[in-house]
């Protein structure tokens, strides 16, 4: 058994052709997921028990089941119903990419809302009391005190979730999407060289992960500038 360097050089550009798809899955479902997460967070903080309850059940279900099962239910499962096939959403749900983005969004939204909630709960209660004592309204306190501090507190956990999301995009390959992993699996099926192909792809993902970490590191330092004693 030998390591075929030529095969790597040959297959790497092919896999990188799927980088755009991977990036698209990550960015689109990441942004939509963040919006969903904020919505769920507001429901949980609303003080209305029915909104809180709905959000909790949602989060419980999506965190309690494997993302692969969620992808299959949406892609293979939903077309079982005629109502879905006749609906306006069919143009999205017919496409594997639409289904993958939907599943990833619903999944990451559940996780991120809990991360954001942790940040909100982590804000020092004394600061909110100071806001009240100064006459700030609940909305003003939320915007000017809670949000900036909670963002900073939640950022490290959030960056980990973005990395989890990147890794989950690879599952899109199970529903025929030709992201980097999907292309790699085709190449392996043809060449039967899992070592060369999968290891070099793993390195690509690791570099991607590293880049995400660096990016968040910069953002974290910027947001945390008030927490350093020296100028």
């Amino acid at each position: 058994m030998s390591f075929d360097l030529n095969l790597i050089l040959d297959s790497l550009p092919k896999m990188l052709a799927g980088f755009g798809v991977t990036l698209q899955l990550l960015v689109v479902s990441g942004l939509l997921g963040l919006i969903l997460a904020i919505l769920l967070l507001l429901m949980r903080l609303s003080g209305k028990f029915y909104l809180d309850w709905v959000a909790q059940v949602y989060i419980y279900i999506f965190r309690g089941t494997p993302i692969l099962v969620q992808i299959f239910i949406i892609y293979y499962g939903l077309p079982q119903f005629e109502a879905v096939r006749d609906s306006v959403f069919w143009s999205i749900l017919r496409e594997p990419t639409g289904c993958a983005i939907l599943a990833l969004t619903l999944n990451t939204g559940a996780y991120v809302s809990e991360i954001l909630r942790g940040g909100v709960l982590g804000v020092d209660k004394g600061l909110l009391e100071a806001g009240s004592a100064l006459g700030m309204s609940a909305r003003q306190k939320f915007i000017y005190i809670t949000t900036p501090l909670a963002t900073r507190l939640a950022l490290p956990a959030y960056s980990n979730d973005v990395i989890s999301l990147l890794k989950s995009t690879a599952l899109a390959s199970t529903i025929t999407i030709t992201d980097m992993t999907g292309i790699a699996r085709t190449i392996v099926a043809d060449t039967y060289a899992p070592y060369e192909v999968f290891i070099s792809l793993a390195i690509v993902y690791m570099i991607f992960t590293f880049g995400i970490q660096k990016l968040f590191g910069v953002f974290e330092r910027y947001l945390g500038r008030y927490a350093r004693r020296e100028e």
């Binding site: 004394g126 100071a130 009240s132 006459g135 700030m136 003003q140 005190i145 927490a227």
Partner: protein, 250 residues
């Protein structure tokens, strides 16, 4: 604000406060006149902080009435807002907003609550920073200041709202000993200018020289209130005497 000079600025009548089944305040009756300087002392857990936190409704009282400058504190949001505009507060742990510079800490509530323009609020902020003698720290973040400096900023922040009354909740308890005086100096200056103040503190020297009245609390009750001389030299209650013996015995 007050047209009727005889009316007390703060009026508490038969106020009770519970935390679950624990009674933190029992039947509190208290009147504070404009310009009065009150010091509240007592053992920990006696309800001192709870009492002043009821005055700006950081805690909700369960029975009795609290009337601030003619406004009764109820669940009505507008009334609570109106009271909070008149009552400033300084906390034990400063509670400066860590993500805002010092001057921004002083400006934010002016801009949001009093709708003052940015320039106006900055001007006022700088004026009060000068009064607490740290204008040069304006553009730093709270963490870069010493505890004493942070507490002075917190006092300036409360002053920026131009309140009628300032509440101090153990303002020197979290400070290193060498920083206590710089904060007390600012408080003494305020007292001299005629600000209405209620201070929860164990600084008995400050109480003796500044207070018009000292209130001793224990187990949620006001046990005794008197002018400083009478309070220290001739306490009436056994409980007051025991407390004073304890804190003055060293």
């Amino acid at each position: 604000m007050t047209d009727d000079n005889s009316r007390p600025l703060i009026q508490m009548v038969k106020v009770d406060k519970f935390f679950g089944s624990f009674q933190a305040l029992r039947n509190i009756d208290l009147e504070v006149q404009k310009g009065e300087r009150i010091v509240i002392c007592g053992p920990s857990g006696s309800g001192k902080s709870t009492l002043i936190r009821c005055i700006n409704r950081l805690e909700k009282h369960n029975a009795g009435e609290i009337i601030i400058d003619g406004i009764e504190l109820t669940d009505k949001v507008e009334d609570i807002d109106a009271v909070r505009r008149e009552v400033g507060m300084v906390f034990q742990n400063f509670n400066l907003f860590p993500h805002m510079t010092i001057v921004k800490n002083l400006m934010i509530a002016q801009q949001l609550v009093r709708k003052t323009s940015k320039d106006e609020s900055r001007k006022l902020a700088m004026r009060y920073l000068e009064r607490v003698k740290i204008p040069e720290q304006a553009d730093k973040y709270p963490i870069q200041l010493s505890g004493g400096q942070q507490q002075r900023v917190a006092i300036a922040r409360a002053l920026c709202m131009e309140p009628e009354i300032i509440l101090f909740d153990e303002p020197t308890s979290a400070l290193d000993p060498e920083m206590i005086n710089e904060v007390l100096d600012v408080m003494v200056d305020l007292a001299k200018e005629g600000m209405t103040m209620i201070c929860v503190t164990h600084e008995m020297g400050f109480a003796r020289s500044v207070a018009d009245r000292i209130i001793f609390m224990d187990e949620g009750e006001i046990v005794e209130q008197a002018e400083p001389a009478a309070f220290f030299d001739n306490p009436k209650s056994e409980r007051t005497r025991a407390f004073l013996d304890q804190i003055l015995s060293h």
